[in-house]
């Protein structure tokens, strides 16, 4: 019962943040701000959906003692960790590439990087 509530809550959180991430992707003015919205918020949302699955697996495992559900949880955990890891690196790489290719942060109060690396 608690598991049900947790799953619903996590799924709702995940969907909410994913949706907001996409909205941010469409609304924000330049690459860097879009990246703030999407890569991190969708990662957060996806990790939360994965957490829901983990809880589902754990609860079912405790209920039925079928090792299959434990495997489900572990593999989902690995997927979530890999997702977070690669997304962080990927968005850093894109941001760096974008800055090197000459895309300036268009509404920006300060750009310290430009002074160092023209």
């Amino acid at each position: 019962m608690i598991a049900d509530i947790l799953i619903i809550a996590f799924l709702a959180v995940g969907t909410f943040f994913n949706t907001l991430g996409i909205v941010g992707l469409l609304r924000f003015p330049d690459v860097y701000t879009r990246m703030h919205a999407t890569t991190k918020m969708t990662t957060f949302g996806s990790v939360f959906t994965a957490l829901a699955v983990i809880i589902y697996g754990g609860a079912s495992w405790l209920g039925s003692m079928d090792t299959g559900y434990a495997i489900l949880s572990i593999h989902t955990l690995i997927a979530a960790v890999a997702l977070a890891f690669t997304n962080a690196l990927g968005s850093h790489a894109i941001a760096r590439g974008a800055h090197r290719s000459g895309i300036k942060p268009s509404p920006a109060v300060v750009d310290r990087l430009e002074e160092v690396q023209p």
């Binding site: 090792t67 299959g68 890999a82 890891f85 690669t86 690196l89 850093h92 790489a93 760096r96």
Partner: protein
């Protein structure tokens, strides 16, 4: 040119993980989705991460073309060899002589859904492994060759 230090460190950390995960997929080809091609492609993609994070000159020392070529040929020869194993026992090529025989990879499984045991399926895991290292070498070397074409263009 190299990418930034963060990406390089990340690639170094990710490479063993990609390798072991790819080999896991290769070895469990007869139990879970996957097999030689998929696992080999995963491993090759792990190598691609390293290749992209470092400069081509650095990578040429880390992941060598000669090794990859040898690996590819060796995988294929192992594949053909395991296929020809049946020939000596009087069966046709590609006969799965080890399955259900009790020797290496020779346990039998009950019919129907079961969690699976690695030590089954006869020649299939061996062939999976052979194909895995072949695909690993092949896809990596394709990427290396294309990048080497890039370097030559800059030189001239």
């Amino acid at each position: 040119m190299r990418m930034s230090k963060l990406v390089r460190t990340g690639a170094d950390l990710l490479y063993p993980f990609a390798l072991i995960f790819g080999l896991y997929i290769v070895m469990h080809g007869h139990l879970t989705p996957g097999g030689g091609f998929q696992g080999g492609a995963v491993v090759a993609t792990g190598a691609a991460i390293v290749i992209v994070a470092w400069a081509y000159e650095d990578v040429a020392g880390m992941i060598r073309k000669v090794t990859m070529k040898a690996q590819e040929s060796a995988g294929l020869l192992l594949f053909i060899g395991s296929a020809a194993l049946a020939l000596g026992l009087g069966y046709a090529f590609f006969a799965n002589v080890l399955a259900n025989s009790g020797s290496l990879f020779g346990l039998s499984v009950p019919f129907g859904p079961n969690p699976g045991e690695l030590n089954t399926a006869g020649l299939i895991p061996i062939m999976n492994f052979a194909v895995g290292i072949e695909v690993w070498g092949g896809l990596t070397i394709i990427l290396l060759y294309l990048l080497s074409g890039l370097k030559k263009e800059e030189g001239t």
